[in-house]
């Protein structure tokens, strides 16, 4: 690796989901001969989790150093910092962005600029990054390069002449892009002689080597054997190993100012490492940490229970192992009358929750149920006490409550103008208040709304995609708490409250919400031996009711010699289904029923 930091370029890629970020990253790596033949099963090299590949999104930041010999004959060290691509992880994105001097703004030639792209672009601009516009997928028949160039000029205020046209799929334009990176992006500033300041932008857990911290050195030298301190957590460590990211980890003696690499210290768990923290040396310490540190707090809370209560021990170990690699997951023990022992967890958003669910089910083979997710409310009591509530079960007696507050966000929606009407209707339905509406050009509108976070979390995104036929894009930030009228809605199955289904809802929506939940449960709970009543109740008042009749007939008409084997295989499947049922009282509730309650309503389909 070059000791000369003028040969280093640190950059990230900003792109909307599906605009081809990971494919482009793969192409870089391939061009750089780090990786020769593309494995058929694993398309995107940097997206290492199954879920990431399936959904086409990056959840964990990744980094890779690509050696590149430019047309000037010099060999550069290009550090690509891959950023998460979802609004749930925007803090991680901001840390990754601040580790770089430049950003590639990838725009899908057939889709144009979208909200997510804009939000991250503004973030990059705030950090004074050099932006190289990249129009990707130019090989598509639907590519509209001129329109994209127009947007780059008009909407983004960037230089269209500096735009690089590529096809990550075919590899066209990638060489030009390498040259642009070398020419346009500044080499890192910073001096080895100054006290050490290294920004932690991510970390991951390796079963053999422990916690591996991803960092960018801004000043000073991070050397093997030196004593360092994480400034925000204020803990000292000894540097055991440092190195660069290739497709694996490549050891070196020291990371210098401007370098992006990893450091292994005696850090035991990933929770001890805070993204955004600054590493400095114990001797000759930096006066100040690097700016921008935030203690990221979860915004969605839900409890996880094993479907089979006997699986609790396995759930404990699954959560502990997930936590090793996911510092943003927080949890504590919880128990439920209906579901037994489990965990109360905090998540960065609904995607984060879904990722955790899928990982527990896939990587650990456990069937789990989630309770209705909740945001964190602030409840002001009549006696002057103020309490935070994220679990509906802890909601106090309404007689003692003065008022409650709920978190609000500002939503930034970008949409083709023909969908503005339906999006406004949707936002109003979600208790949104319009704070702005800007025409970005003749066809595209930016809508700014203040909305309760709880409305956005649960079904907003799917509904928005549905009413805009997928064209609208969306980004949000928390803006604080506002007063609200909150009630606790309980769900009763055969008269017994199922605590896991209780939820805190806005009084004005409670009737509708109760009806939706009852209908959804009716759709998911199969007929059983006895008639089942499903009710939604607020306080002592039933606001909605559905009845599931007892099953009446369930018998295979023909079963002879030729049918046995097939019928037994069917039985095996049914047994698996039964095992995914949760007994609540004497009613079997399938896992899907718990999940259905969380999902968006049917009116969106």
């Amino acid at each position: 690796m070059p000791a000369d930091s003028t040969l280093t370029r640190n950059f990230c890629i900003i792109a909307h989901i599906d605009h081809g970020k990971s494919t482009l990253a793969d192409r870089f790596i391939e061009k750089a001969k780090l990786y020769v033949s593309r494995g058929p099963a694993q398309d995107q090299i940097l997206d290492t989790m199954d879920i990431e590949r399936e959904r086409g999104i990056t959840i964990k930041s990744q980094a890779v150093t690509i050696p590149y010999t430019a047309k000037d004959g010099k060999t550069y060290e290009l550090n690509l910092v891959d950023t998460p691509g979802h609004v749930d992880f925007s803090y991680e994105v901001s840390r990754a962005i601040s580790s770089c001097e430049g950003a590639l703004l990838v725009i899908d030639a057939s889709q144009g600029v979208e909200a997510q792209t804009l939000a991250n672009l503004y973030m990059a601009m705030e950090h004074n990054l050099t932006i190289i516009p990249v129009i990707n997928k130019i090989d598509l028949p639907s590519a509209d390069i001129d329109a994209c160039l127009h947007q780059i000029d008009h909407d983004l205020g960037l230089e269209p002449e500096e735009t690089v046209l590529v096809s990550a799929k075919t590899g066209a334009g990638v060489d030009e892009l390498f040259e642009a990176i070398v020419k346009q992006i500044n080499p890192p500033e910073g001096k080895d002689s100054l006290p050490l300041q290294a920004l932690i932008f991510d970390s991951h857990y390796d079963a053999y080597r422990g916690v591996i911290v991803h960092c960018r050195v801004f000043n000073g030298i991070l050397e093997v054997g030196s004593e360092v301190r994480f400034m925000h957590t204020d803990t000292p460590y000894k540097v055991e190993e440092v190195g660069f990211f290739q497709l694996g980890l490549v050891k070196t003696d020291a990371l210098h100012a401007g370098d992006v690499g990893y450091v292994i210290t005696g850090v035991k768990t990933i929770s001890d490492v805070r993204v955004g923290d600054t590493i400095t040396t114990v001797k000759n310490a930096a006066k100040n940490p690097l700016p921008g540190f935030k203690d990221v707090k979860p915004v969605v809370f839900s409890s996880i229970y094993p479907v089979d209560t006997n699986d609790y021990e396995e759930l404990v170990s699954a959560i502990e192992r997930l936590k090793l690699n996911d510092a943003s997951l927080i949890y504590e023990k919880d128990s439920s009358a209906a579901l037994g022992f489990g965990f109360r967890c905090g998540f960065l958003g609904m995607l984060h929750l879904e990722v955790v669910q899928e990982r527990i089910e896939r990587e650990f083979g456990l069937s789990i149920v989630f309770t209705s997710p909740s945001v964190k409310y602030i409840v002001h009591m009549k006696n002057g006490d103020v309490i935070n509530i994220d679990n509906p079960l802890e909601y106090p007696d309404p007689m003692r409550v003065e008022y409650a507050e709920e978190p609000f966000i500002q939503a930034n929606i970008i949409t083709p103008s023909q969908f503005v009407g339906s999006l406004i209707t949707l936002c109003m339905e979600k208790r949104g208040v319009q704070v702005g509406m800007n025409y970005l050009d003749e066809k595209r509108v930016e809508l700014l709304y203040e909305m309760p976070l709880s409305e956005v979390l649960f079904e907003f995104y799917d509904r928005m995609k549905s009413v805009s036929r997928g064209y609208a894009s969306f980004d949000y930030q928390l803006i604080g708490y506002k007063r609200t009228d909150l009630v606790r809605m309980d769900i009763l199955v055969n008269g017994e409250p199922v605590d896991a289904l209780s939820q805190l809802v806005f009084r004005g929506s409670s009737q509708l919400r109760g009806k939706q939940v009852c209908e959804r449960l009716k759709g998911e709970i199969p007929r059983q031996q006895y008639k089942i009543a499903i009710q939604a109740a607020i306080g002592g008042t039933i606001v909605s009711r559905e009845t599931i009749n007892a099953f009446r007939k369930d018998v295979t008409a023909k079963c002879y010699g030729g049918d046995i084997s097939r019928k037994r295989k069917l039985l095996e499947k049914q047994k698996e289904g039964k095992k995914r049922m949760k007994m609540v009282g004497n009613v079997e509730i399938p896992q899907s029923a718990f999940l259905a309650v969380l999902k968006s309503d049917d009116s969106s389909k």
Binding site: R527, Q529, N549, F551, R552, K553, D554, V555, T556, A557, K558, C559, Y560, G561, G562, D563, I564, S565, K567, R568, L571, Q574, K575, K578, K579, N586
Partner: protein, 393 residues
């Protein structure tokens, strides 16, 4: 490759996958006429040779069942050859299925020579429109003639008769279904009736029509009411409800089918036929995987896939089958067979079932007609109690 492995099954099933056309609800393996012309003789010839070999090995079969498809797609001469090959002194029941539209006196020699003792005919419905809807070849006229002809065969040769009737058919009312039973029973005075509730099987034309909402089928509540009435009526007419879908007057039960429900061993030959064999500590299925052309052209005993059953799977199959009959499960027989005590395995689950569903005594567990209505659920719950893997020691 099929081998008996020391097992001597006492029952033989022969599958004749030839049909003139396919009925809309049918999920059994069969091929329409255009696909089998030219293969029929080769098919019969291989089957005949396989039969000859297994009869040698087993010493003969007590029950034989020729099903389809439509065995009436073969000639009387071809059927005779198969049955002559299968015949032995042990033989006490030979059933042949016949579709009404292809049944004729041309098959009477089979009865005359005592090669067949029992005739089973798929009448399905006595309503012209319903028959058409089901895609049956037979018209109402064909059904009436076939019943008359069957009676004639019984009078002349003393064979037993069984008729299949379907219920809960699209376009059928409760009244029509009851009338079908009345008509078939009064016209035929058959000793045996099979009454099947229409099942929409995946992949059938019926399933496609239902999903397109072109055909409407009965809901569960309607089916239950209908079955209750039909079952009660058959009881009044003197039939014993001895299996979920089967009814017999005194001495007319189908012994061959009881072998399946008792999970005793049987051998199935021909395209898509299934076998259950047992020897030593091992139980296994064979299922024939060749289509009729491959079967016709294939070497003897090729194309039979073997599936060895674990003790748990065996017990699952046993519960699934045994609870279908009014003999139920004899607890002594269960513990002899599986070396586990029935009550200690299942009494807890049984305690949670509706008591109207079963009779449970110290030596017997048997389902009632009400229980049969929800048989699959009961079997599922019992199967969940089977320890995995089942430890036989």
């Amino acid at each position: 490759m099929l081998t008996l492995g020391g097992c001597k099954p006492k029952s033989l099933y022969l599958h004749i996958p030839f049909c003139t056309t396919r009925c809309s609800y049918c999920s059994f393996y069969s091929e329409p006429e255009t696909n089998w012309k030219g293969f029929r003789e080769a098919y019969v010839s291989r089957l005949e040779q396989e039969i000859a070999v297994v009869v040698q090995e087993t010493g003969g079969f007590e029950t034989i069942f020729i099903g389809g498809g439509n065995p009436g797609s073969l000639t009387c001469e071809q059927l005779s050859r198969l049955l002559l090959a299968a015949r032995s002194t042990q033989c006490r029941e030979v059933t042949i299925e016949m579709n009404p539209d292809t049944f004729s006196e041309a098959f009477f020699p089979l009865f005359e020579q005592k090669l067949v003792t029992r005739l089973s005919m798929g009448i399905q419905s006595m309503d012209e429109e319903v028959l058409r809807q089901l895609g049956r070849n037979a018209t109402l006229e064909d059904n009436l003639q076939a019943i008359a002809l069957a009676k004639k065969a019984r009078e002349q040769y003393g064979i037993d008769l069984s008729f299949d009737v379907m219920a809960a058919l699209p376009g059928q009312t409760m009244q029509m279904a009851l009338q079908d039973i009345e008509t078939v029973v009064s016209l035929s005075e058959a000793g045996h009736i099979s009454l099947y509730c229409l099942t929409v099987e995946e992949g059938t034309e019926l399933a496609r029509n239902v999903s397109k909402r072109e055909v409407q089928v009965w809901d569960d509540d309607g089916q239950r009411e209908l079955l209750q009435s039909l079952w009660a009526r058959l009881g009044q007419l003197g039939y014993e409800h001895y299996e979920v879908s089967n009814f017999a007057r005194e001495g007319n039960v189908c012994n061959h089918n009881l072998v399946y429900w008792d999970l005793n061993t049987y051998l199935g030959l021909g395209s898509s036929a299934a076998s259950f064999l047992h020897s030593g500590n091992e139980s296994w299925h064979y299922s024939q995987n060749q289509d009729l052309k491959d079967f016709a052209e294939g070497a003897l005993f090729t194309g039979y896939d073997k599936e060895i059953l674990s003790s748990e799977q065996l017990m699952e199959e046993y519960l699934m089958m045994a609870l279908r009959t009014n003999r139920g499960i004899e607890k002594k027989h269960f513990s002899d067979r599986f070396l586990l005590d029935f009550d200690s395995l299942f009494s807890n689950t049984i305690a949670h079932l509706d008591p109207l569903w079963y009779n449970n005594t110290s030596h017997l567990f048997v389902l009632t007609e009400v229980g049969w209505m929800v048989l699959d659920e009961i079997v599922l719950r019992l199967c969940l109690q089977i320890p995995q893997p089942l430890d036989r020691h």
